[in-house]
Each structure stands twice: as C-alpha cells, then as structure tokens.
C-alpha cells in the first residue's frame, strides 16, 4: 500500500511532518523495489546473465555457455521448473560482457533494473565477478556464479552472492597434501625447499596462502626458500628463474595463467632447471601448452582443477552430465568450465524449486541452506555462510604422465592412476 503512495505524491510546500512522511514513503519505496512478481501471476521464469563471449576470455565464456545451454535444455525438455504447484518455462537472457568489467556491470544493471530478471547467473573471471556482484547485492538479486574463485569476492559480507568455484587456496592445500604423502613415502626430501611463485592477482595470492599455511603448519617439513610474485603476461622470467636456481629448491610451485605457464616453462627448460615436483597450479595439461612446449617437456607436471571428466567413473551425477554433454556436443568431452557452468545453473534451479516461489528472498534463503548431491569432487554442493557463500569442494590433482595423458592421482577416492615423484627427468 505504502509503495503505491509514491506515485500519488505531488509537489507542494512541505512542513516538517510532511518531510518525515516523504522520507518514510521514499524508504518504503526503496525497500519495495526489487520484489519479483508472485509465481501465480507469472508465465515464465526470467533469468539474467552475462558471459565473456567476445574479448580475451571468449573461449572460456563459450565453454560456460555450453554448460548453461545443456542445463536449460534439460529443464525445457522436462516442461520447465515446478514452482508453486505449476510448471513454468525458464527464459535465460544471456548477454555478452565482452570481457570488460564496466560492460559486465552495466549489463547487470540493465538486466536487473530494466529487464526485471528474477535471478542472475554470474560471469566468468574473478575481476568481472567481483565488480558485477555489487550490482546484484545492491538490488538484492540472488547471484549464482561459477566463474569467480578468489575468496575476496566472498569476504565482503554480501548475502545474495553464491559461488560454485572453490577458492584457490584449497588448490594450494590439495597439492601440498599430495606432496606431503610423497614426502612421508620418502620420495621427497625432508625438509623440502619450495620455490613458490605466484601471479600478482587475488588468484595468485590465494594460492600462496594455501601453500604457505600448509608449510607453516608442517613443523619444519617444508621451507619456502623463494616466495615471489610476478606480473601477469610477463615477457621475461629468466631473472626470477635464476633466483630459483640459486636457491637450490626441491619443489617448484607456481600459480599462473596459461600464457605465463607457457612462457615461464619455456624459460625454465632453457635454463635447464628440473625439480622433484613441479606444478603451475590449475595449469598443466592444456592442449595449447602441450602444443607450445612439447609433450615430453610437460611430463610429470602436476595440476589441480575444480573438476575433471574422469570423475564420471566414480560420480553418478558427473557420469550423467558427461554423457548428456557428449550427446549434445558431437562426442566432445567437457572440461571443468562447462561442468561448473552446468552445476551453477542446476544449483539455482534446485533452489527455485525448493523455494516454490519466485520471491528473491525465499530463493536466496534456499540457496543459503542448499545441500545437494553434485558432480563436483566430494559429491556435495553447498554454500557455507562462514565462507561467504563460496563452495568449499576439494580439487582433483592430475599429473601429465607419458602414457596416459593427465589422469587423476589425488584424492585417492577418485584417482585412476598413481602419481609419480620424484620427477624421473631430473638427473
């Protein structure tokens, strides 16, 4: 009732009580603004989203879209989502944010305030997600994303933001857990000296946090001898690698994006370096890297990823997803990008059905309390409140092995090969 009063106000000379009334009405109007229509009046569910379909992240944005399309197709085939006792079709308004922060923000604002979407699917890459989430939070629109991994996105006290991508510090922790097993088995010296190099981004900082916290709790089993960050898209790492060489380290742990992985590893090989264990964080088994560096030169590189199609062997939801994906995309095997895109949409759909309503607050509450079986490693998806709504699923560790591409070697429950340490290439 009070909301309707805003339009009825007319301008005239106002006394103090009148100003108070205006303020009260204005506050009420602001509170009323983001409410979505009740399900009973609706003929469809409107979901907004952006992805980087052009620009620097276009390839990955396209992968996420494939995951979205598959999840949407499944729901459409089922006649829509059941909300409040009736099935409603889902309409996805997906726009191209061109891998640009400002565009991602303005498109989110347009979708929420002009197109009046009910819910929002977030974009890809930490920088874009971090900027875009403020729009969703200000407008109180549930925002689910599979593209922002940095924990700082979820440390701002936001209530409407949910992330299906586990934080990168867990990647560092998971790698160190496997390395620790090798050390206990005598494959790695004790104490082991670590060269820890990380890109100067929130992604790199999280990785560093995971590795250094593990090392500091190891009671002297690990010593971080080199701890350096580097500029993104660097051209020359030879001086940095010279520092690594001079420090005589056993483990070479790096967090890098693909171009830096390729450039740094080429210079690593040029410098005739060899470590008992080496990893470039989430990078390692990409075809582009193998093409650029040569298969032999990337053997035994470890990588930790959020998901791997090989999980289909042990996880029934992952198996169903892989089969459906291959059927839709001409037998092509999905990567983690498509899987996370699919799972992000699925999480939102499940929450909408559980809420039985299109009320944003009800769906937000269901997302906050969500706990479902998942294709993610660990088999469960939830958004813990103490982690700001970011999933804490474990990573899977892969290793490039000469005869078997990049099988999963850790955790043991999902492993399909045994990891090799120390690196047999080192003399």
């Amino acid at each position: 009732m009070l909301c309707a009063g805003v339009n009825a106000m007319t301008y005239r000379t106002c006394s103090t009580p009148c100003y108070l009334l205006v303020a009260l009405v204005a506050l009420s109007a602001a509170a009323c603004k983001p409410k979505a229509a009740p399900a009973g009046d609706r003929t469809e569910i409107l979901i907004g989203g952006t992805l980087p379909l052009t620009g620097g992240e276009a390839r990955i944005g396209g992968f996420f879209k494939e995951g979205y399309d598959l999840a949407l197709e499944e729901v459409t085939k089922a006649g829509g989502l059941e909300v409040g006792g009736k099935k409603l079709p889902v309409k996805l308004m997906l726009l191209d944010d061109t891998t640009n922060q400002a565009t991602a923000v303005s498109l989110a604002d347009k979708l929420i305030n002009s197109d009046k979407v009910d819910f929002f699917l977030g974009t890809y890459s930490t920088a874009l997600v971090e900027a875009q989430t403020t729009v969703a939070e200000q407008n109180k629109v549930p925002y689910v994303n599979g593209g922002g991994a940095a924990s700082q996105i979820y440390k701002r006290g936001f209530k409407y933001i949910f992330g299906t991508l586990a934080p990168v510090d867990l990647l560092g922790t998971t790698l160190m857990t496997w390395i620790d097993e090798q050390q206990k088995a005598g494959a790695v010296p004790k104490p082991a000296k670590i060269a820890l190099l990380w890109e100067n981004t929130s992604h790199g900082k999280d990785f560093r946090k995971g590795v250094s916290e593990f090392a500091s709790k190891s009671a002297g089993a690990y010593e971080i001898a080199v701890d350096e960050s580097f500029e993104l898209n660097g051209k020359d790492f030879s001086a940095l690698l010279g520092k690594v060489k001079a420090a005589g380290t056993d483990l070479f742990l790096v967090d890098a994006h693909l171009p830096d992985y390729i450039t740094m590893h080429r210079q690593y090989l040029d410098a005739a370096l060899c470590h008992k264990i080496m990893s470039y964080g989430a990078r390692g088994s990409e075809k582009a890297a193998i093409d650029a560096l040569g298969r032999d030169n990337v053997d035994y590189v470890l990588s930790g990823v959020w998901w791997n199609a090989q999980l289909a062997a042990t996880n029934p939801i992952a198996k169903k997803f892989v089969e459906a994906f291959k059927a839709k995309y001409a037998g092509r095997s999905p990567e983690w990008f498509q899987a996370l895109g699919y799972e992000t949409v699925r999480a939102l759909f499940v929450a909408i059905q559980q809420a039985g309503s299109l009320d944003r607050e009800a769906v937000r509450a269901k997302l906050a309390a969500l706990k479902i079986d998942s294709l993610l490693p660990g088999g469960t998806l939830d958004f813990p409140a103490d982690k700001g709504g970011q999933v804490q699923a474990p990573f899977v560790v892969q290793q490039n092995l000469p005869a078997a591409d990049a099988p999963i070697i850790f955790p043991k429950a999902v492993a399909n090969a045994t990891g090799v340490a120390p690196n047999p290439h080192c003399k």
């Binding site: 051209k235 001086a239 171009p259």
Partner: protein, 299 residues
C-alpha cells in the same frame, strides 16, 4: 633492501646474458615506432596491433602451410608494409601535422589498433597461440649459462635490423631523403623531394618492422588478439629513452632498460621489476627530455 646472499659470479653472468637477450627483444619491438616518430612526428599507437598481426601472419603460415617462422619474415614484411602504406594513405595523411595533429593521430591510430584486435578475435578467436618448431626447446651452453636458441636468433636478427636500418638511412638515396624530410620537410619540397611519398614509405617501413617484431615474438611467447599493449609500452620507453629518431640510441636504450629490469630482481620483488623501465622513462623525461642520446635524427 633485500639480502643479497644469493649473488655469485655465475648468477651475475646469468643475469647479464638475460639482459642482453631481453635487450635484443626490446630493440626489435621498438625500431618501427622510433622510425615513424622520428620522421613523421606521429606516435603510432597501432604499433602494438601490428606486432600482434605480424605474430598471427607468421603463425598462420607455420600452422597452415608449414613454413618456418623465420622464412615467413619476407612475406610478413611485405604484408605489413602494405598495411602501413594503406594506413598512411587512407588515414594518417588526412590528419593535420604537428602539435594540432597529435591528439587526433593518437585517437585514430588507437582506433586502428582496436579494429585490428577485433578482426583477430573474429578470425582467430581468443585462444592463445604459439609457434613451436623442432628447435624451439633447444638451448646452448654459453659461459656456463643456458641460452635459448630462439632468443639468440631474435638477438641476432635484432642487431641485423639495426645495421640494415642504419645502412638504409646513411648509404642510400631514399635513406638520405628520409633523413632530410625528418629534419625539414618544407625545405625538401623546395629541392624536389616528394615528401608525401617519403612519409608513405617511412610509415610502411616502420609498420613492416613492427610486423617482423611480431613474428619474432611469436617464436618465443604465446600470443592472442589481446597481445600488443605491453610491447607498445616497452617500445615507447625504449624509443623515448634512446632519443626519438635514433637507431643506435634505440639499441643502447633497449640494453639499458633490459639491464635495469633484469638486475632489479636482486633488490626488488619480481612483479616490480617491470616498473623500473617506467621509472627510467620518468627520470629521462625530467632530466634529459631529448633522450639519453640527444636530439640526433635517424643516425
């Protein structure tokens, strides 16, 4: 100040070798920008885009036709030269000269760069590409340091380009005409030099050099349509530091910038070392605005 406990003669030798190799790379990237500015007084902001385009032409010839990237250099030079001529004749020629034309040419050439970048996205997608030949992973042991073969080739070609450019400008009629136009275009018109033709030729040569830099970079680094901005910035630092329009000034400036950046790792965190070049740029602009090698033009 960080502890210098890891320094040894071997380490210093490694760093010196790294600095020389990096200098070869920086010089190769900067020649085209320096030549165009030296003669036309136009800062070619499309330079980064042409470097990226050169990388893609080299990659396409290697990937689709199996042509070695070094053998593709003549083709890349011709294509880039034609692109430069088209850019000059179609766009740059129509701008006002001198200070009045400065902002307009900056905006125009920045626009050209954006067009080149988006064409690359459309044609090649945003995937990272690399050129990997049979010798890409080879390295040579020199004075106890392992040196990448491809980086040695880039250094060698970088020096060869400097010598070739120097000879072109000093020993040929066209070179003398270019130098004369750079010094005083109006006087050149009086003595019968076709100034517009010289400008066109210079813009073409400068663009061709950027294209060659692109192929050489592609043999060392991965690249994508977004590549080119860091190359442009480094080129700019080197050209300004060396003195705009000086060929060997560019070589010496490249060596100074590379040495400063490489040796800075001894006292600075690695991610700050690339800022050392920019610090040098600021110092030179404040203390010696004409560059370290004065205002000499093209020689």
């Amino acid at each position: 100040m960080r502890p210098l406990d890891l320094i040894s003669f071997a380490r210093l030798g490694d760093l010196a070798v790294s600095a020389v190799l990096l200098a070869g790379l920086y010089a190769t990237m900067a020649y085209g920008l320096g030549l165009i500015y030296g003669v036309l007084r136009v800062v070619n902001l499309a330079h980064g885009g042409v470097i990226m385009a050169g990388a893609y032409i080299g990659w396409a010839m290697f990937d689709r036709l199996g042509i070695d990237p070094y053998l593709s250099i003549p083709v890349v030079m011709v294509v880039s030269f034609a692109l430069g001529v088209a850019m000059y004749q179609g766009l740059v020629r129509r701008l006002p000269r001198g200070a009045a034309g400065g902002p307009a040419s900056l905006l125009l050439l920045f626009g050209v760069w954006l067009v080149l970048r988006n064409i690359a996205y459309l044609v090649f997608t945003g995937n990272d590409r690399t050129i990997r030949t049979a010798y890409s992973s080879r390295s040579l042991a020199i004075l106890g340091s392992h040196v990448s073969l491809t980086r040695l080739v880039v250094l060698g070609l970088g020096l060869a380009i400097a010598i070739g450019l120097h000879l072109l400008l000093r020993r040929t009629l066209i070179g003398r005409a270019i130098r004369a136009v750079a010094q005083n275009a109006d006087s050149c018109t009086l003595v019968g030099i076709d100034v517009e033709r010289i400008y066109t030729l210079t813009f073409g040569i400068g663009t061709a050099l950027a294209g060659v830099a692109g192929v050489l970079l592609a043999t060392i680094f991965s690249f994508s349509p977004a590549s080119g901005s860091s190359e442009l910035l480094r080129s700019f630092v080197v050209v300004v530091l060396g003195g705009l329009g000086s060929v060997f000034g560019v070589v010496i400036a490249a060596l100074i910038v590379a040495t400063a950046e490489v040796f800075a790792v001894l006292i600075l965190p690695s991610y700050l070392t690339s800022a050392v070049g920019f610090l040098l740029l600021v110092l030179v602009l404040v203390l010696r605005p004409g560059g370290l090698f004065g205002q000499r033009v093209l020689a």
